[in-house]
Each structure stands twice: as structure tokens, then as C-alpha cells.
Symmetry: C2
Subunit: 140 residues, 2 copies
DNA sequence: GTGAATGCAAATCATTTGCACTCTT
DNA sequence: AAGAGTGCAAATGATTTGCATTCAC
């Protein structure tokens, strides 16, 4: 696991405390937070940081390939420091978003490629259902 | 192909000219238009119709299961009168969005189900690449 | 006639932008 | 010192909401 600071430098980006905080937060969570969520989580450590900075930073990190943007069908984007193309599962009861293993993609992609005349370069796969915890709740 | 009017009635909805126009437009296109696009296309026939009505109507039709909402990762939603869960391909050059065959889903779903403890009920699969026309353009 | 649907304008929400100021390099 | 990055406030764009009017039933 490389240092966030090193990653920023490699990309020729200035290493600011805000960027470090945002990148590290994303690298240490599995929650796929939105810009708003990131902003709130960092508010205590960076009381002067503005939401605009969060958005600008996310934009930069995305363009540099350090994070990816998800759109699960809500009104807003979520962010993921795992930049491998991997499927996601969304719990339609509690809203949680989890990763699925990247390896599941290979076969899918092969099959789709054979059935379209598009030259595919990327994909976003979202599955919706009930997470184990919510399945329990609903059965009571 | 059932009549749009009949579909609305079946769902207990009042049959208004605006609803008919919107539903028919969606049922007769493969373009996956946004609310804005729908509004513009109908502007000549319904000069007094407001964008708010388009949004309200889309909301109702979606809730009744007569159309589905797509989110290809743009800033806005697109709508599709094909309510079967089917994958979509997006051309990253011209922005076109096309349907893929529903049958491609079965295997995908089976495989994913085996690898997650979520109880899946739905999915949204978006593939991104270059459509045949754009492949040509780019090769010149 | 009655309640649901429409149309307008105002409101909201996520995201973006402009610009002066402040840091990293 | 120079330019990139930040923070604020204002702008934008998509979508939603409130409410009076109109229309489908």
C-alpha cells in the first residue's frame, strides 16, 4: 500500500493537507462516500475546508486515476479509491454499497463483447438487493 | 403492443394528452431520452406543457412500472419504456445509449448471486465503449 | 362536481465556477 | 517568487414543490 503523499507526487500534484486527508479517507473506507459525506467526516479535522475544495479535489483525483466515481442511481456521486473496475452491490433497504470481486467481471465482459459491435473499454455493474443484515430485519 | 391509453387506465391513472404523449414518445424511441429531451421533442405539439409536468409524469410512470429510469453516469436521468432489466451500452464518443439483449443477463446474474450474500432483486449494467460509427471516425 | 393533473414560479439539491488569498514547491 | 490550491460566495443545472387553475372521470 503506497503512501498517499507519494501517489500525489507521482502524478505531479501538490501535496496539500486537504488532498492527503481526502485521499486517505477514501483509501481507508469501504463506504463509498459522497462528496458531502467526505466533507462532514473531515470537518472536525479541517474546520475551514470548503465543500468546493472537496469537489475540486475529487475531480483532480479522478482525472489522475487515483479514485473512481460511482453512480448507483441516487442523486449524487459516490467515490471509491479502488480504481479497478469492479461490480458493486447496493442494499435497497439500508443504502449500503459494497464491492464485489473484480474477477467476476472477466466472464461477463467476454460474453457481452461477443454480442455487441461496440468496442468496449469499461463497464459499471450495479446489483441491487438486500444485505444480510437487512434480510434478517425484514424476516422479523 | 398495447395501447398507451389502455396501460394508463389499467394502472388507474387518468389518461391525459400529456401522459399519452410522453408514454408514446418513450415507447417509440430507442434513444433513452432525458426529461429535458422529452420536453423539447413535445414542445411543438404541446407548447403549453411545462417541464415540471414532464418530471411529474415520468415519476408516475416509473412508479407504476411503465418505464424505467437509467443513470449512465451523466448528470441527469434517462428514461426507457422497455421495463425489462437489460444491459445498456454507452458510446463514450457520441453519447448514444443502446440496449443490449436481456438474455445476456441470466448468466451474469447467476454467477454474481453465487458470490455474494445479498439477496439480489435487480441490476443495472452499463458498458462503455465506441459504437461502430465512432470507431470508423476515429480510424481516419 | 370532484379530485387528480397541469402549469407556472419559486425552492431545493448537487455540483461548478470566479476570484482574491494562501500555501507548496 | 510563481503558480497551483484553497475558501468563500455566487452561479448553474437538474429536479422538486406549492398552489391556483383546468381537465378527466
Amino acid at each position: 500500500m503506497e503512501e498517499a503523499a507519494a501517489l500525489l507526487k507521482q502524478k505531479g500534484l501538490k501535496v496539500t493537507p486537504q488532498r492527503l486527508a481526502i485521499l486517505n479517507l477514501l483509501r481507508n473506507t469501504k463506504e463509498h462516500p459522497t462528496a458531502e459525506t467526505i466533507y462532514k467526516k473531515l470537518a472536525s479535522d479541517f474546520p475551514t475546508m470548503s465543500l468546493a475544495t472537496v469537489y475540486k479535489t475529487l475531480e483532480v483525483l479522478k482525472n489522475m486515476g487515483l479514485i473512481q466515481e460511482l453512480n448507483v442511481g441516487e442523486g449524487s456521486f459516490r467515490y471509491d479509491a479502488n480504481t479497478n473496475s469492479h461490480p458493486h452491490v447496493v442494499c435497497i433497504s439500508c443504502g449500503k454499497v459494497e464491492d464485489l470481486d473484480e474477477s467476476l467481471l472477466k466472464d461477463v465482459l467476454d460474453e457481452i463483447s461477443q454480442h455487441t459491435d461496440y468496442k468496449l473499454v469499461e463497464q459499471k455493474l450495479y446489483f441491487y438487493g438486500y444485505c444480510p443484515a437487512c434480510q434478517h430485519k425484514l424476516n422479523n
